[in-house]
Amino acid sequence: MRSNKVLFRNIDTQILLIYIIMILYGLLNIFAANYDNDIMILFNFKSEPFKQSIWILSSFSLIFFILLLDGKIFASLSYFIYFLSILSLIIVLFIGKEIGGARSWFNISTMLSIQPSEFAKIGTLLALSKYLSQININISKLSVQIFSLTIIFIPILLILLQPDAGSSIIFFSFLLILFREGISKYYLILAGIAFSLLIFSLKSSTKFLIISLIIILIFLLIYMINKKKLKSNLKLLLTVSIILFSYIKTINFIYNDVLKPHQKNRIDLIMGKVVDIHGIGYNLNQSKIAIGSGGLFGKGFLKGTQTKFNFVPEQSTDFIFCTIGEEWGFIGSFFTILIFILFLIKIITMAERQRSTFSRIYGYGIFCIFFSHYFINIGMSIGIVPTIGIPLPFFSYGGSSFWSFSILLFIFIKLDSYRMDILR
């Protein structure tokens, strides 16, 4: 028999601490989003805070189970788990329950629905880690790149068939793993910058975009001056800036002067710029009112009004950040973002200290998942990312996603506990 001492040997306590802060703060906000001047809600087994507590408590046994397992099992079972999750994505297309126009849930009972795309994230990541960590794999070979993309794009296609565009976007972030593992940096830099600038310039005002870019460039400059690399990189930096600004100008030009009004309208609607009172625009506007009304210090815990009156039904799931912004103000928003910064940096640091390639790739994988959820969710709540319905990890209400996030994280924590062992 293993003793607890062995079981929790080498478990990183810092990440555990961040994790616990997140679930507690998250639960507090789910409680606030549901609060009805009635403390009894805590004891109503149908209420969201109660159900979420159950999900959290039950996830502990799951976590315990993961920690009990031999860490090798994840690598050896990864293709099998991938296969299973692909299978479930196919089956859900036929027998899944339709929610909001997408067939993406298995309905186990009235209390319990499971979303296979959540578990496909784990499967895909494991398969990708397994494939790329093989000794004889050279990522600069085209065949390897194509095979890796196939692993990523099969679930994307299946999820797009549901259709659930939001969930499929997360899988795109796995492309970042390939970057870390040595794929030519130009692939990613080019695609990433072009895509995000396109979205940003269509989405926000040009003024805001340019201010943000200038600030980022200043930081880059400071960094380079510090590292005394300015001279060698100044030319590059200048060229990049010029290309960036002319790219934005071109998009603006096409948008303003080339597109016909109805085409523009369509883009505006997708980007949430036009207020479509019954659709996404309305939610976004409500969300901004809620967050904006929070001010510096917020209205105080349980004192929020926007998130309680006539607000969108997703206030404790996709729009949980509204409750944070309204009740805790800018201070609360800042704190939340700070936690995520610490959390994400911690994951990168942990991934980099792995001796096993599998563990490192896996670590980068969960970084991609957590990062994209974090940025898209908060970004959408404040209107700088198109409205995409995905949860904020450990904050949003919902059992399926909570479990999936916990499993993702604790597999990594388990893998990390072998970091002292010899190279495997």
Binding site: I277, F309, N310, I337, I382
Partner: protein, 609 residues
């Protein structure tokens, strides 16, 4: 190879985390600190949004007489947590509510939310609302919210108009426009033109203080959107004729459908018994609905669109036309009738007593069964085998707009039934049936089924000598004439020249003293018609009459069905000719006949038992 040589790339990831977090923080900083418009003032103002409901479109008849308008109504709203110490008994007395239902409703509202407003009592009358308004200050937590509900200005057209009620759940799920408690047309024109009538909801954002008072608009109305009122409809219905027909049909079960043949516009669409459309408006709707639903005469059932009857002898006209087109008869063709048609000892179709060897015109006027059995037999026998002949015959019938949904702008309908070859193959076996097997189809019996509106449309085809416009109910939307496929003529497979002899026969149905509807003659009017009797296995036969007038350049085609009234000539025919006279001349010359029809009660309940 050691891929850890790319460990430097982690810098990129740190950069990604920090820069994107920075973007979020900048935007949050703008939103929460710089932009004052989102902030609350010291009095804890709250930005609230209010849905502005558009005015539902009005419905007029073809003469611009209002059929459906709006009236002001009030919803009694409640915010449970704001209910103070109120005198419940007094409250209940004012709004006519039992104490137990008061407790139930409060609980229901609390279950929904104790701090959000919800409807406590929907659509209370103006009178009750006024009374309640006086005592409003005593009942904190309650308030009145104005809304509009339908007012049907004529006690008529109940089936045509339909009714408006709370939007059903399945609609809310599939259509983003609707929210819980929104109005929605459930049946009739209210349903089929819901999208035009409803308009578009608007939204208004404003600040509200703790006493729920409006404190000015939010961001100068930047996010507000105006409500767009519903469109007004002009129906094709002539309300005078409609009401006259309803009068004639009182205390009878059945239907009258009148169409203007030259346009396909439906002039009347009557299903009897009907009900006051205002019964399905307001607070008592569900109670009234249940009463109507339980009524054994089924007033909610729209017979004009949903009832299907065998067309009986009226269908002989179609067989005559097909016979002429196929060249198996000519206007001069005569067939013998010895008290009917006889194939062999076991297969006979009887006929009433009349002079034998009639020509086509006389056979129509006197409705000789034998004549049309012969005609049908000749049509089928013209072809190599029964299947080819029958399908040829059936194609002709379908071209009259029968056996299919009309695909028009009415909310509901039935396809009727023109039996297919395979229907008979199943019934009798493949190649096991010949024309004599189904001979009663030649006189409109067997498995034939037509709805009243199809019957009227068929009459229209004859009146037009060979084509019809899809019968439709809306003439103008917001004073603009409709412009769609209803305005395209659909031709039947019979040549124009074959109609005149048949129409001559129809004229004699009424004008000849031997004609079956001679009793329904109107002095000085040239009406072409045909009587029919639909056999009814459940009780007394249904009386049927179709007609159009004037003979040349017809202005109206009408189909009348009076259930359980026996011969077509007795009841349906006079109703038909009276309708025509009323529409064409505006008056009634034979008030004796009118009174006789109006005062008759023909509701045979025998088959209900």
């Amino acid at each position: 190879m050691n891929r850890n040589k790319f460990t430097n790339r982690r810098i990129f990831f740190y950069f990604l985390i920090l820069s994107s977090s920075l973007i979020l923080l900048i935007k949050l900083f703008f939103l929460q600190i710089i932009d004052n418009s989102y902030k609350l003032s010291a009095e804890k103002n709250v930005v609230k949004q209010e849905i502005i409901y558009p005015k539902r479109g009005y419905i007029y008849d073809r003469n611009k007489i209002l059929l459906a308008g709006n009236q002001r109504a009030y919803d009694l709203m409640v915010i449970p947590r704001e209910i103070g110490n109120i005198d419940t008994l007094k409250f209940c007395k004012i709004i006519d509510l039992k104490l137990e239902s008061f407790i139930k409703k409060i609980q229901k509202s609390k279950n929904y939310s104790s701090f959000k407003e919800s409807i406590f009592l929907k659509e209370i009358s103006k009178r009750k609302a006024a009374k309640f308004q006086e005592y409003l200050y005593e009942f904190s937590g309650f308030f009145l919210k104005e809304r509009t509900m339908r007012k049907y200005t004529e006690n008529s057209c109940s089936h045509i108009l339909g009714y408006v009620s709370q939007v059903p759940d399945y609609i809310i799920k599939s259509n983003k426009y609707y929210n819980y408690n929104d109005n929605f047309g459930i049946t009739g024109v209210e349903r089929s033109y819901e999208k035009d009538l409803r308009g578009n909801k608007g939204i208004e954002f404003f600040f509200r203080d703790v006493w729920n008072r409006k404190m000015g608009s939010y961001k100068n109305g930047k996010y507000d959107s105006l409500a767009i009122n519903g469109k007004n409809l002009d129906l094709t219905i002539d309300i005078y004729l409609q009401k006259y027909g309803e009068l004639l049909m009182q205390n009878k079960k059945g239907s009258i459908v009148a169409i203007e043949p030259s346009t396909g516009e439906i002039l009347t669409l009557i299903s009897s018994p009907n009900y006051d459309p205002n019964l399905l408006v307001g607070q008592n709707r569900s109670e009234n609905y249940i009463k109507l639903y339980k009524n054994k005469n089924k007033p909610l059932f729209d017979r004009s669109l949903l009832a299907e009857y065998p067309p009986g002898s009226t269908f002989k006209l179609i067989n005559a036309l097909i016979g002429l087109q196929e060249g198996v008869i000519s206007p001069g063709t005569k067939f013998p009738c010895d008290n009917g048609w006889e194939y062999n000892k076991d297969l006979k179709v009887g006929c009433h007593k009349h002079r034998s060897n009639l020509n086509l015109k006389e056979a129509i006027a006197q409705s000789c069964n034998s004549y049309f059995c012969h005609t049908f037999g000749k049509i089928i026998s013209k072809y190599k085998n029964t299947n080819i002949g029958y399908n040829k015959w059936r194609d002709h019938v379908l071209s009259f707009g029968l056996g299919n949904y009309l695909n028009n702008d009415l909310y509901t309908g039935k396809p009727g039934k023109i039996p297919t070859q395979s229907f008979y193959d199943i019934q009798y076996g493949k190649n096991r049936w010949k024309y004599p097997t189904i001979i009663s189809i030649s006189i409109g019996q067997d498995a034939l089924l037509l709805s009243p509106i199809q019957l009227a449309n068929m009459t229209s085809v004859i009146a037009n000598r060979g084509y019809f416009y899809t019968p439709h109910i809306v003439k103008k939307i917001n004073d603009k004439e409709i412009n769609n496929e209803f305005l395209i003529a659909k031709f039947c497979s019979i040549d124009k020249k074959y109609f005149q002899p048949v129409i001559n026969g129809m004229e004699n149905v009424i004008s000849s003293k031997f004609g079956t509807a001679n009793n329904a003659k109107i002095k000085g009017m040239q009406i072409c018609g045909k009587t029919g009797t639909a056999q009814n296995p459940h009780g007394k036969d249904h009386s049927i009459f179709i007609a159009f007038s004037p003979k040349d350049d017809p202005k109206i085609a009408v189909a009348v069905i009076v259930e359980n009234s026996g011969w077509g000539s007795t009841w349906a025919a006079p109703i038909g000719t009276l309708m025509i006279e009323k529409y064409l001349t505006g008056e009634i010359s034979n008030s004796k006949l009118e009174n006789f029809i109006k005062n008759a009660t023909i509701i045979d309940d025998s088959y209900e038992k």
